[in-house]
Amino acid sequence: MVADSSIDRPLKLMVIGTLAGLFSGLFGVGGGTVIVPLLILWLAYDERSATGTSLAAIIFIAGFGAAAQGLYHNVHVLDAVLIGVPAIGGVLAGTWLQQRLPTRTISLLFAVVLVASAVELLLR
């Protein structure tokens, strides 16, 4: 089997894009959880290129999803701006802190927070 024939590659990208779009649209997340491992597995990406390329694709995926949700009148635009713009600063700060904090301990603590929030959602 040819590893990366010319038809193979766009087909794989289409499958990945479709799966990521489904996942993103269904849950309101970016879809990196789907894209990154598949780019690594199917298209032999290294982890950094997979992450970078995934981020760029997410601009479109989230854009399509938000537009589609707009048709259902579910988007709170002001809240999105109030969250999304400060989040940029947050990400920059978090990336800076990554080199300076014990991320392992924080990961474990944050996993607890995630599970607690998940339980709270389940109990609603």
Partner: protein, 132 residues
């Protein structure tokens, strides 16, 4: 308004620090702290992700980590999936969607724990940037 800004800042810090996607944090923040229903929270999260992804892409691109042609193709080819995903979400009840999302959060938590434990193997503390 302050709560929304706080959610954005906090979610951003955690995303940058731990490599977790912003949406996984935006959605529960919008539901639990701002009182949006699950559908509204997911929709709003999608819009909020865009500025973060744009800045992230810009940063990654400076390091040559964005394969532009693939990213463009991937993005364009996601249209049908994204539309179908949104339609599916809106066909489901808020309760079911919320429970599904809670399970997704638990999976992310599990992945975080696994990654943290793997990174804690002796002597493997140093290289966060495996340049070689």
């Amino acid at each position: 308004m302050i709560a929304a800004i706080a959610i954005g800042l906090a979610a951003g810090v955690v995303a940058g620090l731990l490599g977790v996607g912003g949406g996984v944090l935006f959605v529960p923040g919008l539901v639990l702290l701002l009182g949006l229903d699950q559908h509204q929270a997911e929709a709003t999260s999608l819009l909020a992700i865009i500025p973060v992804a744009i800045v992230g892409t810009y940063n990654q691109d400076r390091y040559g980590n964005v394969r532009r042609a693939d990213a463009l193709l991937l993005g364009m080819l996601s249209l049908a999936g994204a539309g179908a995903g949104v339609a599916l979400a809106n066909a489901l009840s808020g309760e079911l969607l919320r429970d599904g999302f809670a399970i997704l959060m638990m999976l992310v938590a599990f992945q975080l724990v696994r990654r943290a434990l793997r990174a804690s193997r002796p002597m493997s503390d140093a290289p966060r940037h495996p340049d070689s």
